[in-house]
């Protein structure tokens, strides 16, 4: 990439801001998902699919992905600016998160020409929805032990087994699938392979699972002698673990290349200040309570550190003592933070803490209660906070494995 043309970037930024200001849907008469993991109704799905498509057509998604595959061919700085504009405008989220944020970058980094041609555009336009088939009922954190089988038969692989917690599984056209091709391999890792598997076909069934919020958003996925073309194999047989680990690096933010666009609406720490002004505790606005004030400041300080950490990571002399520390730590730091932020917001509400979405007594229509429950999606999904601590302890601090 050549140096970014600042004037062009500035113009792009203004256009993006104006476009989102004008085109962001305002009066939506049903509840929109806060994250891509909460798409629970067809109405939500169709709405978000159309919205992502519109944003893409306007040039504000994948702006830095190669033109030949459907991207905008610009520098990454352009997409960053567009993504910021979306977040600032609090637009609905980008639906096809698994495609945009991990399948897409994975394909661009290590996919074949053919794979890139086939998949990238559909990811950006939301015409083809992606899901991720890693976790299994008996193997979650211990992903390397996944047992779903893939057996080569002529030009096909025959898949048997079950995946679970498959976000958007019921809507997906494709799955990034981790399956065992060689149960006799010298290690459990070496027996795994990675597939770009179609989801619509005989022998593939998805069953929605109800989440702790009462809504839907993920499925269990059953493979019963499902036949997929052998060309769905990514890389070579036995490279599944390697590719899955690379995928998780995009997912955890330790590796970049994402199409951009915001896929999670995290509570803006500033919103909690608003709540503190109108929530009453002991007959006074919560914001007047000294203990609450102190905690609010602590949370604002922590929120600010999240942003500063990622900026500091780009300043080499300030990020070299323990390489990868800031990148590998960002998921743990931010997901734990948002969980505590939501929990604290509930604790400021006096008896109203007891209400939930839909009750007129609920503060902010129960967004904090719902947000808190949903926050576990991020502290569990993508590798739990405990697993993140293992990873940081071992890979950043060099502590021995347990």
């Amino acid at each position: 990439m050549t140096a970014v043309d600042q004037k062009q970037l500035q113009e792009f930024k203004q256009q993006a801001e104006a476009w989102f200001a004008e085109n962001t849907p305002r009066e939506v008469d049903f509840m929109l998902p806060l994250t891509f993991m909460e798409v629970g109704t067809d109405q939500q799905f169709e709405f978000l699919r159309a919205w992502q498509n519109k944003v893409y057509e306007a040039g504000y998604l994948g702006a830095h992905w190669p033109k030949e595959f459907g991207g905008g061919g610009l520098d990454r700085a352009f997409q960053d600016v567009a993504t910021k504009a979306m977040a600032a405008e609090r637009t609905p989220i980008m639906l096809n998160a698994i495609g945009l944020n991990w399948t897409g970058p994975l394909l661009l980094d290590r996919g074949s020409e053919e794979e890139k041609k086939k998949y990238i555009k559909g990811i950006l336009s939301a015409e083809e929805i992606w899901c991720q088939g890693f976790s299994e009922p008996d193997h979650g954190s211990d992903l390397g032990n996944a047992q779903t089988r893939a057996v080569r038969e002529g030009d096909e692989y025959v898949i048997n087994g079950s995946k679970i917690w498959t976000t958007q599984g019921n809507y997906a056209d494709y799955m990034i699938l981790l399956a065992r091709t060689n149960p006799q391999a010298e290690s459990k890792y070496k027996g795994l392979s990675f597939f770009l598997s179609p989801m619509k076909g005989q022998g593939i069934e998805t069953v929605p699972i109800r989440k702790l919020t009462g809504e839907y958003g993920f499925t269990q996925t059953f493979f019963d002698n499902a036949r997929i073309p052998a060309s769905c194999l990514m890389g070579q047989e036995g490279e599944g673990w390697l590719i899955a680990m690379q995928t998780l690096e995009y997912e955890r933010g330790a590796r970049s290349g994402q199409a951009g666009g915001h896929v999670m609406m995290s509570a803006d720490p500033a919103d909690i200040l608003e709540l503190a002004r109108h929530a009453q505790i002991n007959g006074k606005p919560a914001i007047e309570d000294p203990a609450i004030r102190e905690e609010l400041v602590a949370l604002m300080t922590e929120a600010r550190a999240l942003g500063l950490n990622s900026r500091r990571d780009k300043i080499q002399p300030l990020a070299q003592d323990r390489p990868m520390s800031l990148a590998l730590g960002s998921k743990l730091a931010s997901t734990d933070f948002y969980q505590r932020l939501n929990a604290f917001a509930i604790a400021m509400q006096g008896t109203r803490a007891a209400y939930y979405v839909g009750d007129p007594q609920a503060h902010d229509n129960g967004v904090w209660q719902r947000g808190y429950l949903n926050s576990f999606s991020a502290t569990i999904g993508g590798g739990t906070s405990q697993i993140q601590r293992n990873i940081i302890g071992e890979h950043v601090l060099g502590l021995p494995k347990g």
Binding site: A87, A88, D268, P269, A270, L273, A276, I287, P290, R293, E294, L296, V297, A298, M300, T301, E302, R304, A305, G307, L308, N309, R311, R312, I315, P317, L318, D321, R322, S325, L326, G329, L332, A333, Q386, R389, N390, I392, G393, E394, V396, L397, G398, L399, P400, K401, G402
Partner: protein, 379 residues
């Protein structure tokens, strides 16, 4: 201020060329000059630091970084010093560095031009100075002063007692806060003006440091030793922020090394046939300590970057001091625990860091103090 936060903008962080170079230079210098054997040797030394090292620092020009060129310095902002103090903190150095720097900045702020000409070139080139601000009231509010100064025929006569005057024994001059005309004022007191026995060494928690109580009763200095009184309150506020920034740097440095020190033990000590670092209650706690350190370091360099900016600088510095206090305290506290019985000994370095964390939090405000100030600025 709250507009900035409400807009969800992340405040800036950056690094100048000079700072980037200083990180490397200071890292090597501090590692060479302050290995742990040397730190321990100095624990029983009256001075508490090696004068030869101090002279080298003066020769490197570090004392003049924040002093304008016309007074023999380089004229950069205070934030430029953060990498140096951070490295000093890593290696538990104890020098009159921060006190001399802050004293020079105070004179730059509120000294008369005559005082600036008289003192700044000396401070930029190796004359040590200290600040006498704390009193019996144990208050972090630097305007809560009961020591006094009044003009007499002989000159300016001081009264009262000051505490926690660091490295007073090496300081050639003191910036002393007093009430004058019943308002806060700052006076420059040369060492020679102190009576015999006016200085008494204090027993403090940080064994690497030297601190003194100062008896001001009977001290008489030239009438023109008073700094510009109209600027006194603003200068006291500046001193608090400048000291907080540099203390935060020292603590962030300390946190890094105490984590490193503990990791070494966790990678070599075995129990139940396994390296203790493989146990998650230790491993995960070390991760939490490390993440706290990373947060504090980000805030530190943001504060260094924003220091000179009105309003934003204060928010950033207070956040940095609060985070550094907590990160260093937690890391050092767990360091003692994770060394087991050895952790309880004087020989284990964990205690050196833990004691220092308490010292650094005790000066210019602990985390709660800064959060309360921040609440008033931000909420």
């Amino acid at each position: 201020m709250s507009a900035l936060i409400n807009a969800g903008l992340t405040p800036s962080i950056g690094l100048s060329e000079e700072q980037a170079q200083l990180i490397d230079i200071a890292q090597n210098f501090c590692r060479d000059k302050s290995p742990i054997d040397q730190v321990r040797k100095l624990l029983d030394d009256d001075t508490g630091f090696d004068p030869a090292v101090w002279r080298e620092i003066a020769e490197l020009g570090w004392l003049g970084i924040g002093v304008p060129e016309e007074f023999g310095g380089i004229g950069l902002g205070l934030g430029e010093l953060v990498p140096i103090v951070e490295q000093m903190g890593r290696h538990l150095m104890a020098l009159p560095f921060v006190s001399t720097i802050v004293a020079a900045q105070a004179i730059l702020h509120a000294g008369t031009s005559q005082q600036q000409q008289k003192y700044l070139p000396a401070l930029a080139s190796g004359t040590a100075a200290s600040l006498a601000l704390c009193e019996e009231n144990a208050d972090w509010d630097l305007e809560n002063i009961s020591c006094t100064a009044s003009q007499t025929d002989q000159g300016l006569v001081l009264s009262g007692r000051k505490f926690l005057v660091t490295d007073a024994h090496q300081a050639e001059l003191f910036i002393v806060s007093v009430r004058y005309d019943d308002k806060p004022a700052l006076v420059i007191v040369p060492r020679a003006a102190l009576a015999e026995g006016a200085m008494s060494r204090e027993k403090i928690i940080d064994d690497t440091r030297r601190s003194y109580a100062l008896d001001l009763n009977g001290v008489c200095v030239d009438a023109d030793s008073l700094m510009e009184q109209a600027k006194a309150a603003e200068t006291l506020a500046y001193i608090e922020l400048a000291s907080s920034l540099l203390l935060a740097a020292e603590m962030v440095g300390g946190a890094y090394n105490v984590i490193d020190y503990t990791l070494d033990y966790l990678k070599t000590r075995k129990q139940f046939g396994k390296l203790i670092g493989s146990y998650q209650s230790l491993k995960h706690t070390m991760v939490d300590a490390h993440m706290g350190y990373e947060r504090a370091r980000s805030h530190l360099y943001s504060a260094a970057y924003l220091f000179d900016q009105q309003g934003e600088g204060e928010v950033a510095v207070r956040m940095a001091k609060a985070e550094a206090n907590e990160a260093f305290s937690f890391a050092a506290d767990r360091a003692i625990q994770f060394h087991g019985g050895f952790g309880f000994t004087y020989d284990c370095d964990a205690q050196l860091y833990r004691r220092r964390a308490i010292w650094c939090s005790a000066l210019h405000g602990d985390a709660r103090y800064h959060r309360r100030k921040l609440a008033d600025l931000m909420l």
